[in-house]
């Protein structure tokens, strides 16, 4: 068992940071919250409703997890960004191309970036694409696993700004962010949970 008596609540509008040494279970915690790992014991509630009573795709359309090393399909960046809008859960949601271009511009990339092959991107660029895609689809909560780990200072600042803007658009939006970088944790969160200290 990884945790005992782990009691974690995320308030509307809250930005929670999760710190802790490598191997302390930050990733497993985020994956569990995203419903990607089967729960051995305990319950997850979202909007006061147990996860088991949610349809998993509907839940994951609102609570979006971004892995640290995202795997992108062999296709163009535009297709990768567009792919989640083909799922049934977003059937009547059009792909916000304009917003995607604005986000890219904020990160210093023009729309030519959309035509690049996703499988040939560097680790940092793939991470940018994965975070952008999550920003385009997530409606309520973002679960970000070291989203700037492969990025330089400039790109990190750009991603932090975009996430802050996403949070600011609607007051109920919240995010959980893991990082090794203490100064970043202080910058982007209201509260820090240190795993390993929690029993």
């Amino acid at each position: 068992m990884l945790w005992k008596n782990l009691d974690l609540a995320l308030a509307r509008g809250e930005r929670l940071a999760i710190g802790g040494a490598t191997g302390s279970g930050k990733t497993v915690l985020l994956r569990t919250l995203a419903g990607l790992e089967p729960l051995q014991a305990g319950t997850i509630y979202f909007n006061d409703q147990a996860l088991s009573s949610w349809s998993m795709p509907a839940y994951r359309a609102r609570v979006v997890y971004v892995p640290q090393r995202p795997a992108l399909a062999e296709s163009t960046v535009k297709n990768v960004l567009q792919s989640p809008f083909k799922f049934r859960v977003r059937r009547d949601q059009p792909f916000p191309l304009q917003l995607a271009c604005e986000h890219l511009a904020a990160l210093g990339r023009n729309s030519d970036f959309l035509t690049q092959r996703a499988e040939r991107l560097s680790g940092g660029e793939a991470q940018i694409v994965a975070v952008l895609r999550a920003l385009l689809v997530a409606s309520d909560i973002l679960l970000l696993d070291e989203p700037t780990a492969s990025l330089d200072a400039e790109a990190t600042a750009g991603i932090e700004t975009l996430i802050a803007r996403w949070l600011g658009e609607q007051s109920h939006r919240a995010c959980i962010w893991t990082s090794h970088d203490r100064s970043q944790l202080a910058r982007i969160s209201d509260r820090t949970l240190a795993l390993g200290e929690a029993e």
Binding site: L36, A58, V66, P67, A71, P84, F87, V89, A130, A134
Partner: protein
């Protein structure tokens, strides 16, 4: 029996074996590492076929349904097991999935062909049932092992891509759909290839057999067409069955990818 039919003596079988001995010698000489498996395969082939010859002669003489169905079940079970033994990865229950798919597809298609198309009387006539089932099983075996292998390799290697789609709200079906398509395509490649070139590049074994036994080519061809449709239908059905069962085993109802259920096998046939 056709008067032109030539019965083969043991001496003639021995001369045929010399053909493979030449290859064995070359393999040993050039150290190709093929000698052992070639030898084992040759001996197995001879022993299995001689045994089957004896068994079939007594089954053909029996004229009761039970032994025919029994032999069919054993053949299908062996094919189901062999299909999994050729994959690199396994998951708990994969043997049952394969057995169920092989058994269902082969009995359904062979049964339908015997009762609905060939109108065999009595329905269990071993002279038809066993060879037809055998040909269908051999092809299902190929299709299932190729498709299963592709599917399990895909889950193992592209797991994070499949999971990233799940994390973005895809249902398990949406996430796995292209991998399922690809696995079915791979499973059907040998069957489609052989239909494409049939009669042009190769004369199929069964037809060759009928021709050697003195059947008119136009009649032999008709049998071959029925057989090919049976093989294609059964392979498609068996492959679809096993991939859907594997899909349900590796993607649970909570739309989670259970790649932890897959494990690598060191000892793989072939």
């Amino acid at each position: 029996m056709n008067p032109n039919y030539i019965n083969l003596s043991n001496w003639q079988l021995g001369f045929a074996a010399v053909l493979i001995l030449i290859n064995l010698a070359i393999s040993v000489w050039l150290r190709l590492g093929l000698a052992r498996s070639l030898l084992v395969a040759s001996v197995r082939m001879v022993v299995q076929l001689l045994l089957v010859g004896f068994i079939l002669e007594s089954v053909f003489a029996l004229q009761t349904p039970l032994p025919v169905v029994g032999i069919g079940l054993v053949m299908a079970a062996l094919a189901g097991l062999a299909a999994v033994r050729r994959t690199r990865r396994r998951f708990p229950g994969v043997y049952w999935n394969s057995l169920l798919s092989v058994l269902g597809a082969s009995f359904l298609i062979t049964g339908a062909a015997m009762l609905g198309i060939l109108n065999v009387h009595p329905w269990y006539l071993a002279q038809y049932a066993i060879p037809l089932l055998g040909m269908v099983l051999g092809n299902i075996l190929n299709g299932i092992s190729l498709a299963l292998d592709r599917f399990m390799e895909g889950v193992a290697r592209e797991g994070s891509l499949l999971e990233s789609n799940l994390a973005l709200g895809a249902t398990r079906w949406e996430a796995a759909h292209s991998l399922i398509n690809d696995s079915l395509r791979v499973g059907m490649i040998p069957t489609i290839n052989s239909m494409m070139v049939m009669g042009v590049v190769s004369l199929p074994g069964m037809m060759t057999g009928q021709l050697l036994a003195g059947v008119l080519p136009t009649a032999a061809v008709r049998y071959q067409i029925v057989i090919m449709f049976m093989i294609a239908a059964a392979t498609a059905l068996g492959t679809l069955g096993v991939i859907l069962l594997a899909f349900r085993a590796l993607f649970n109802s909570q739309h989670q990818l259970c790649s932890g259920r897959l494990h690598l096998h060191k000892h793989v046939d072939l």
